[in-house]
């Protein structure tokens, strides 16, 4: 039964208390917990991060909102801490990177299938195939530098294979800016989907910008630099799908609704009871934030929040395996390219001169994402299970 957003008021903002022990719960097990538990943790960290980022920016542009935003933001910050601290310390930055790409693939696939607006669904499928390729490149790095199998993180839910090659994902900025939804006519689910993806992609960009310099090998550092640049393009794409004419309060309200929707999806699908209790607590708190924001909306914008917030929460994310769907999209759309606001078939419409020029310049000394996966194919247990042929030949400068 979908949540009635106007009846379910959650925990009142002044009743929400977390202490340091709450903020640092026992982490999940990298080996024993289900990969989708990790997917939910990473996504919710991204949602809370985006919520905090948005609230900070709104406070800088809209005086009357400064105090209400500060009140909600403090709890949001602590929720983000509690959620992100669930990641275990034995998960290395590169293993966490594999998990981030799994989040990008599985969450984008869920969203693309549920999206009611065909234009937006196409944008999501376009981004999906690019993140799919990143997983392949990072998995090669993990195998070749640390001797580890990415599938111990993925748990066989997500295929590891090339997507749209990263080397050709580099586009001029003008070819990353898409057409926004119309705030007055768009379905609430379309708004929720886009805000979820902005959150996920933004945190991926920021994570790579943080851990990239911690990567010890030169190839690893180059790889993070190249893929972080695409994540920046993805933030640009998903952000451009949001209507820039929404009022600051409208944006805040939709972000709160998106957070409620995502926590509710986590509660519904979580398999670890201890983690489900954390999702439930965050959902109750966030419902309190939504009602708080609706009240501020009534007072300051003099509008009825029912204009934006649906009576009932849309159907929750399923958090199930999307393998068949991703393979289908890969088969049908990997060749597509972006020109301006549109996704095109390059057999009919050529890419822009600006993109071709930019790509030639950025790749002029080669593409690290291509080098790292030179001759690499995922196999259980890693490349070395091939036997003696998995040997570096330095005379030829490549694998034998």
């Amino acid at each position: 039964m979908a949540l009635d957003l106007f009846k379910e008021r959650g925990t009142r903002l002044d009743q929400q208390h977390l202490d340091w022990q709450d903020l640092s719960p026992m982490p999940i097990s990298k080996l024993d917990d289900d990969a989708f538990t990790r997917v939910r943790i990473i996504l919710m960290n991204g949602i809370e991060q985006q919520r905090g980022r948005l609230m900070h920016h709104l406070a800088q542009f809209h005086g009357p909102l400064r105090v209400p935003l500060a009140q909600v933001r403090r709890v949001s910050h602590h929720q983000q801490t509690m959620v992100n601290w669930l990641l275990p310390p034995d998960q290395t930055p590169l293993e966490t990177t594999i998990a981030y790409e799994q989040v990008a693939i599985e969450v984008t696939a869920m969203i693309a299938q549920a999206e009611p607006d065909p234009y937006h669904a196409q944008m999501h499928r376009f981004g999906l195939l690019e993140d799919f390729d990143h997983l392949y490149r990072f998995s090669a790095l993990l195998d070749r530098t640390e001797g580890k199998d990415a599938n111990n993180i993925l748990q066989s839910y997500t295929d590891v294979a090339p997507g749209r090659p990263t080397v050709i994902e580099h586009r001029a900025p003008v070819d990353d800016v898409r057409r926004p939804y119309d705030r007055q006519t768009a379905d609430a689910l379309t708004k929720i989907h886009n805000l979820t993806l902005v959150s996920g992609e933004y945190q991926t960009r920021d994570f790579y910008m943080t851990v990239g310099p911690m990567s010890p090998s030169m190839l690893g550092r180059l790889l993070y630099a190249e893929i972080a640049s695409i994540e920046e393009q993805h933030v640009t794409q998903y952000e451009s799908l949001l209507d820039p004419n929404e009022s600051p309060l409208e944006k805040w309200l939709m972000q709160e609704l998106t957070t409620v929707y995502n926590y509710a999806s986590c509660v519904k699908t979580e398999t670890n009871p201890r983690i489900r209790a954390i999702w439930q607590r965050c959902l109750d708190n966030t419902l309190g934030h939504l009602h708080f924001a609706m009240e501020v909306f009534r007072q300051l914008d003099k509008r009825d929040p029912r204009e934006l917030v649906p009576e009932r929460l849309p159907e929750a994310f399923s958090y199930t395996n999307n393998r068949d769907y991703v393979r289908e999209v890969l088969k049908d759309e990997v060749h597509l390219r972006a020109v301006g606001q549109e996704i095109v078939d390059p057999a009919r419409v050529s890419e822009s001169e600006a993109t071709e020029r930019y790509r030639a310049l950025i790749n002029k000394s080669g593409s690290p994402t291509s080098s790292v996966a030179d001759g690499w194919q995922w196999r259980p247990g890693g490349e070395l299970t091939m036997g003696p042929q998995a040997l570096m030949d330095f005379s030829a400068g490549r694998l034998q």
Partner: protein, 257 residues
């Protein structure tokens, strides 16, 4: 063959240590002494030790040994191979050696890259020596995968012991991958890895013997002998490095002509 651009013991502009700042160093000490009011928690619960112990007492594990993937008959076969004993401990430790040997191959790949880029020193590592070790680590990895399969276990799984050893050796992987570390610095990492590896094999032999699996004992003893040789080679290269460096210093200091 010898290139010294990555010489690790060269004098330079290192800015660490209190003595590197003759003016500000003493003021640092003065500041800490004058400005720090020692915090004493109100109750014992807030003490450093109590907090650490409380953290370590929380429930939770890194993970468990995966259940056997095959049909029940496979599990019975495994138990039979081990004289009816529980295979979990052996599977855990086999998983650890599989992971360690696989990462070991990558460490020698990284050493080969360094060698190709910067060269070696007289009596130091050469392509033949590094490849020899790399190939043996690889062969050990493949042999261990076979052993795991014969017990009905999954050689691709990350067991708790594999995860523990990976955590413990993370620094070695980083050192070898860092493009700024020299071949001689890389050897410091390889020495740590080979020492741990040798003892890992000894533990595995002991375990296989206790479980009465003579086939495993024989195969592991052979691998252990090869690991002993790896250790000797690393130690020799390191000793040659010291001898080479001292000789180089003397040559540099000697008057011309």
């Amino acid at each position: 063959m010898t290139k010294r651009k990555n010489d690790s013991s060269k004098l330079g502009m290192n800015r660490t240590g209190i003595k590197a700042s003759p003016k500000n160093g003493p003021r640092m000490i003065e500041g800490a002494e004058k400005l720090t009011l020692a915090y004493v928690p109100e109750d014992e619960e807030g003490s450093y030790v109590r907090m650490m112990v409380r953290g370590a007492s929380m429930e939770g594990t890194m993970g468990s040994v995966p259940p056997p993937p095959g049909p029940k008959g496979m599990v019975k076969t495994a138990a039979k191979m081990l004289g009816g004993r529980d295979p979990n401990l052996l599977i855990d430790k086999l998983g650890a050696r599989i992971a360690f040997e696989r990462t070991g191959v990558r460490l020698y790949d990284a050493a080969l890259v360094k060698l190709a880029a910067t060269g070696s020193w007289e009596g130091g590592p050469d392509v033949e020596g590094l490849r020899h070790i790399r190939e043996e680590e690889h062969a050990h990895f493949l042999m261990l995968c076979e052993c795991m399969e014969s017990l009905g276990g999954d050689p691709t799984a990350m067991t708790p012991a594999a995860n523990t050893e990976a955590m413990a050796s993370e620094g070695v992987v980083k050192l070898l991958a860092d493009p700024r570390s020299s071949l001689s610095q890389a050897l410091e990492g390889l020495l740590i890895a080979e020492l741990a590896d040798r003892d890992g094999w000894m533990g595995l032999i002991h375990l296989a013997r206790a479980m009465g699996n003579d086939d495993f004992v024989q195969r592991f003893e052979q691998a252990h002998l090869e690991e002993e040789e790896h250790l000797r080679m690393i130690r020799t290269w390191m000793q040659q490095r010291i001898a080479d460096a001292s000789r180089f210093e003397l040559e540099e200091q000697a008057p011309p002509g």
